[in-house]
């Protein structure tokens, strides 16, 4: 598996999809920063800007991961890899590791770019400890994102189908995150009266878990610099990463490759 990882990391370095997704995310970050710096009539705090591009992260990563792994299927190189692999799982794990590493690299570069450049244009209200805490949560989110789209592509086994499926899912996750966020941000009282849109009890708990388990929901919490349940978020991420990887290996090992 180490041999396959080495080969795939070299491929990642040269991957057009990887470079393009990084460039798109950097361009989006610049655009978001430009809008925040010019459109508001007050000085925007840096904390509101650092993770703002993460709202589009899921879509960009879905395209990158599905194109990267999908190329193995469309170009047929997977046949060479499976011919030499000790077992199918080694191939699947290798692809998952390389993809979540790619996602984590894009996340790190984009966050560092936003934090670095943002210092010159926005009011710096960011404490280093808070930044490290949020960065770590975002890092876990990026790994979950990479895992999720890798597993879908491995099971799908067709580049075009995988791109459509992953981007479609990323879009649904984004809409779902907007929906759960709109529910969770409601306060119990509004203008001195009970807020009819406020939900509590089981429905609030369910929406809260859905928001924490959804990588786009996690990204939306980071972008608003307000993470409600950081420990739960991490505790959900770990089984999600392990579960998705195990499911990917299991289903891929039974798959007929053409």
């Amino acid at each position: 598996m180490i041999k396959m990882l080495r080969a795939d990391f070299i491929r990642l370095r040269k991957s057009f999809a990887f470079r393009l997704s990084l460039i798109v995310m950097l361009a989006l970050t610049s655009a978001f920063m430009f809008i925040q710096a010019t459109a508001m009539d007050y000085t925007v705090p840096l904390s509101r800007v650092i993770f703002l591009p993460m709202s589009m992260y899921g879509l960009a990563m879905s395209a990158f991961v599905s194109a990267f792994i999908g190329t193995d299927f469309s170009d047929g190189f997977i046949r060479n890899k499976l011919l030499t692999a000790s077992c199918r799982s080694h191939y699947a794990i290798s692809q998952i590791i390389v993809c979540f590493t790619g996602c984590a690299i894009v996340y790190t570069v984009v966050t560092a770019f936003a934090a670095g450049v943002g210092q010159f244009f926005f009011e710096n209200d960011v404490k280093i400890t808070d930044f490290i805490r949020f960065f770590a949560l975002g890092f876990a989110m990026s790994i979950v994102t990479g895992c999720l789209f890798s597993v879908i592509t491995l099971i799908c086994g067709n580049k075009t189908h995988a791109i459509v499926l992953c981007m479609g899912l990323a879009f649904i996750m984004l809409v779902l995150a907007m929906h759960t966020n709109s529910i969770l941000v409601q306060t119990e009282y509004k203008d001195g009266a009970l807020n009819p849109k406020y939900v509590d009890g089981f429905r609030r708990g369910l929406n809260s878990i859905l928001h924490d388990i959804n990588p786009c929901g996690q990204a939306s919490q980071l972008s608003s610099w307000e993470v409600w349940h950081p420990i739960r978020m991490i505790l959900l991420d770990v089984p999600l990463i392990c579960g998705l990887s195990a499911l990917g290996c299991l289903l891929f090992s039974k798959k007929d490759i053409k």
Binding site: K3, M4, R6, A7, I10, R11, K14, F16, T71, D75, G76, F77, I78, R79, N80, K81, L82, L83, T84, A85, S86, C87, D256, I257, K258
Partner: protein, 302 residues
């Protein structure tokens, strides 16, 4: 005889449709085994199974004597190279980069012999040209170069001359023969271009509807497809007596038809037959090709 690959009642079903239906075949070591069959006969399915891309639904196969159920089958597969269907190459990389990927996957210590491998397949001058700009023939040759990385002793090629121009076909044939003769690589070629296959193969396996119809060596095929004169006479027993007197090899097909396997003096023969009151009704030169032999076995147009 040593066999590189043996299958025993191998089955593969796609849902309820059988692609392989109890296929039994034997690929002798050092041979060029021509795997012949119509489209959809199950050729590519077999190659996918032995390459580990799919699992059999029933039956078994041995690679270098190692059963497909054994864990060691992985090591046996590392001794083979394969081009199944289309060449397995990254189109956005150069030829050398593709080979480097394969070398890394195989864990080969050095990439020093990549130029030599590229030269072997005639791609030494491709430089930084991306594979997506290669011709079909160049892609096929690169696919073979990748399959040859790691010095395999068993090469599996699926329709290697499909889509190649005449010069490409000749070059491909020469390369396969060179690999077989100089490096003693056993080659399994699946093809339905029978004329081309007959210039290469030392052994044949003819498959139809997922079953092996006939396995035979090139010598056996040549004997079956021997040039002859088919004679229709009024009485083949008289013809047999006359041919025996002339020391000529023949085979009686029916009471009125016989094949004569030698150049005969037609006048002398017809006079001898006329003297014994045997009429010659027709004479026809027959030269059965692999194609006609194949059609006679699997039936044409069905």
């Amino acid at each position: 005889m040593d066999y590189v690959l043996q299958t025993d009642g191998l089955k593969k079903n796609y849902k309820s449709v059988p692609a392989l239906d109890g296929l039994t075949m034997h690929v002798p070591k050092g041979s060029i085994y021509g795997f012949v069959g119509k489209n959809g006969a199950g050729k590519t399915t077999l190659l996918r199974l032995i390459c580990g891309l799919q699992n059999p639904s029933g039956g078994s196969f041995n690679l270098y004597g190692i059963s497909n159920d054994s864990k060691d089958i992985v090591n046996a597969r590392r001794r083979m190279g394969a081009v199944v269907e289309t060449p397995a190459i990254y189109t956005n990389m150069t030829a050398a980069e593709n080979l480097k990927q394969q070398y890394l996957i195989l864990g080969l210590p050095s990439c020093d012999d990549i130029p030599e491998l590229l030269k072997l397949v005639g791609l030494e001058n491709t430089g930084k040209k991306k594979v997506k700009n290669f011709s079909l023939g160049m892609k096929q040759r690169l696919g073979i170069a990748i399959a040859l990385a790691g010095n395999p002793d068993f090469l599996v090629l699926d329709e290697p001359v499909n889509g190649l121009d005449p010069q490409g076909i000749v070059e491909m044939r020469e390369m396969i023969l060179k690999l077989n003769r100089e490096k003693q690589i056993t080659v399994l070629i699946s093809s339905h271009i029978l004329d081309e296959l007959s210039r290469l193969a030392t052994h044949y396996g003819i498959i139809d509807r997922g079953r092996m119809v006939k396995e035979l060596s090139a010598e056996e095929l040549n004997a079956a497809c021997r040039k002859c004169v088919r004679m229709e006479v009024s009485n083949t027993s008289i013809l047999a007596r006359v041919l025996d007197n002339m020391n000529t090899e023949y085979k009686v097909i029916s009471e009125t038809i016989a094949d004569v396997f030698a150049r005969v003096n037609v006048t002398q023969l017809t006079v001898a037959l006329a003297n014994d009151n045997c009429e010659v009704l027709s004479m026809q030169e027959r030269d059965e090709s692999l194609e006609s032999y194949f059609i006679s076995l699997v039936g044409g147009g069905k």
